[in-house]
Every structure is written in structure tokens, then in C-alpha cells.
């Protein structure tokens, strides 16, 4: 086989391999660049009470931030699991869970929490700046921030099944023990 033919075949095999890799997975997924970076600070009114809530008041704790919206069907899928997480870890003074209400009308968000219930606080992202600061492009998205304020975990999609298990056992439990996040 001539050398140019070898190069051509190698190039074609490379292209096929690239297409194979690209055809699987979510084509709309945007890889995150925020892991191991300082979490942006934020503040806003609580969805139900209107009281001001700021990320800075929880510095030094493991903070789980969940972006959601009342119109988001997948958010409803994970809602029970979020309540379960808060029930499991909420009594730990080193743990805080915060919801961020994303692109929603206040009355719709309040009704959603009334209907489905909640046991943690939710911040209204009025101008969308919190979402943009966190590189959010769709809900639900969940971040876990360690005691040093560094983002250690990000998940796009509902926390159900394997993703919920991974979050619980490989992310939250180690961080609350003062250990690094376990590999997936």
C-alpha cells in the first residue's frame, strides 16, 4: 500500500471514530468549566417570604444549590429526592441546601412549592444573573460547593437513580466528612 493511501485510510478511520464519539451522548450538553473554581456569590429574596438570602451567610459550610422552575417537568421528577436529601443531611449544621428559582413568575413558584412541598429555602433569581454566573443553560442543574467555597460537583438533569446515589455517596457524604469528592 502506498504511503498516501495509508494516510488516507488512517484519516478516514479517525473521522469515523470522531463521529462515533459525537453521535452518542446529549448533543446539547455543554461541558462545565466551573468545577474546582470559586463559587460565585449571590443573593436574592426568598421565594415564599421575600426575606433576603445571601450565599455569603453560608460560607464555611457544604452548600448544595439546585436551579429549578415551576414549568420544568424534570424538576418535579427530582423534587422528592431533594426533599429526601434535606431530610437526611439537613440536621447536619455543616450542610445547607438552597434552591434557585430560575426564569419563573413568583406566583407560579410559590404555588409549586405549596403543591409539592419543601423543607429548604429558595432564592428568586430576578434578573437571571445568578443563573448566568453559574453557567446554567437549562433546569434542573445542581451544584455542590465545599467548605472553602469551591464548586466540586455539577449535574445537569434530574437527580434520580444513579445520579442521586452518586451525589449522596460520592459527593455529599465525603465532603461532609472533610474528604474530597470520590471519583464517579
Amino acid at each position: 500500500m502506498k504511503s498516501w493511501q495509508v494516510i488516507l485510510v488512517a484519516g478516514l478511520v479517525g473521522l469515523v471514530a470522531l463521529f462515533y464519539r459525537g453521535l452518542w451522548g446529549d448533543p446539547r450538553a455543554i461541558p462545565t468549566v466551573l468545577i474546582d473554581t470559586q463559587a460565585p456569590t449571590f443573593s436574592g429574596p426568598e421565594v415564599r417570604s421575600g426575606a433576603p438570602i445571601g450565599f455569603d451567610q453560608y460560607r464555611g459550610k457544604v452548600v448544595m444549590v439546585n436551579f429549578w422552575a415551576s414549568w420544568c417537568l424534570e424538576c418535579r421528577t427530582e423534587h422528592e429526592n431533594l426533599l429526601a436529601l434535606q431530610k437526611r443531611f439537613g440536621s447536619n449544621p455543616e450542610f445547607v441546601m438552597l434552591g434557585i428559582n430560575y426564569q419563573d413568575r413568583p406566583e407560579d413558584a410559590q404555588k409549586y412549592l405549596q403543591v409539592y412541598g419543601t423543607n429548604f429555602q429558595h432564592v428568586r433569581d430576578i434578573k437571571g444573573t445568578i443563573s448566568i454566573d453559574y453557567g446554567v443553560y437549562g433546569v434542573p442543574e445542581t451544584f455542590v460547593i465545599d467548605r472553602q467555597g469551591v464548586i466540586r460537583f455539577k449535574f445537569v438533569g434530574p437527580l434520580v437513580g444513579p445520579s442521586y446515589d452518586h451525589l449522596t455517596h460520592n459527593v455529599l457524604e465525603p465532603l461532609l466528612r472533610g474528604q474530597p469528592v470520590a471519583a464517579s
Binding site: 455543554i30 462545565t32 437571571g128 448566568i132
Partner: protein, 164 residues
Amino acid sequence: MKSTVLLVATLALLTFIVTPRSSVSAATIDEQTIDFQVRDVAKTLRCTICQNESIWESQAELARQMRTVIRERLVQGESPEQVRAYFQSRYGDYILLAPRRTGLNWILWAGPFVLLAVGSSLLYRNLARWVGAKSEPTAVEEPGPPIDDAMRQRIEAEYRGRQD
């Protein structure tokens, strides 16, 4: 002396007349500049909802909020490059509609031209071969060895046999 005084007075008068209008124009020009800068930056950023559109074209609410963030940052004194860098720090390279000209991205930029050059040279080689083969004169066959008398008689007998 009189002409100097007249000149100074004229200049002072003109300044008095022109200045208020100039400050209004400056504000309008600044707003216009910001508008153009917002457009220029927004056209280079991908809408993360409608991912084939820029945030300038997209009607998604997130795109509208991003345009607002661009405007606020420009008004605060950030340069367009700094605003782009902010979005890139939040969303990564994917937020840029045009890939950066660094590292492996050069394959994306140079690839089409390289493929065009390779394809063109292969096409040229093949075309030259085809054209060259057509224009070459047909080789003349060398005559075979002379026929002796015995062979000539045999050929004639067989020819006569076929005609009968």
C-alpha cells in the same frame, strides 16, 4: 487689537451656543456606541437554549437576560473582550460561536482548506493522467516477420476454401 477682541468674542459666543447641544449629542453617541457594542458582542456568543443562534438573534428569555448583562458590564466600563471572557469563564469555549484559534481548534480552521488542497491535487493528478492518455498518439505496431512462400500458399488455400 480690535480684530483680536472681535475674534475672541466670536469664539466665546460660538462656544456658548454650541456647548449645550454638544453634551446632548455626546450622551446620544455614548448610548449608540453601547448599543453597537452590545450587538457586536452578542453576535459572537451562542444562545445556550437555541444553540444554533447567537444571543443577539435568539428570542429565548435567557438570551434576553444575557444581552442585559452585556449592556450592564459595558456601561460599567468593561471592554467587549472582557465581557466575552466573562461568559467564556461561565460557559466555556462552547459559548463562543467561532472557535478560538488555539490548540486543536486549528484543525477546525485549517481543516477545510487542507482537505480542499488535498482533493484538488488528487483531482489534478487524475485529470492530467486522463488527458495525457488521450492526447498520446496510438503506438504503431512493428511489422511481424516476413511471410515465406509456403505460408503464403497455405493462407491462399484456406482463403479459397472459405469462399467456396
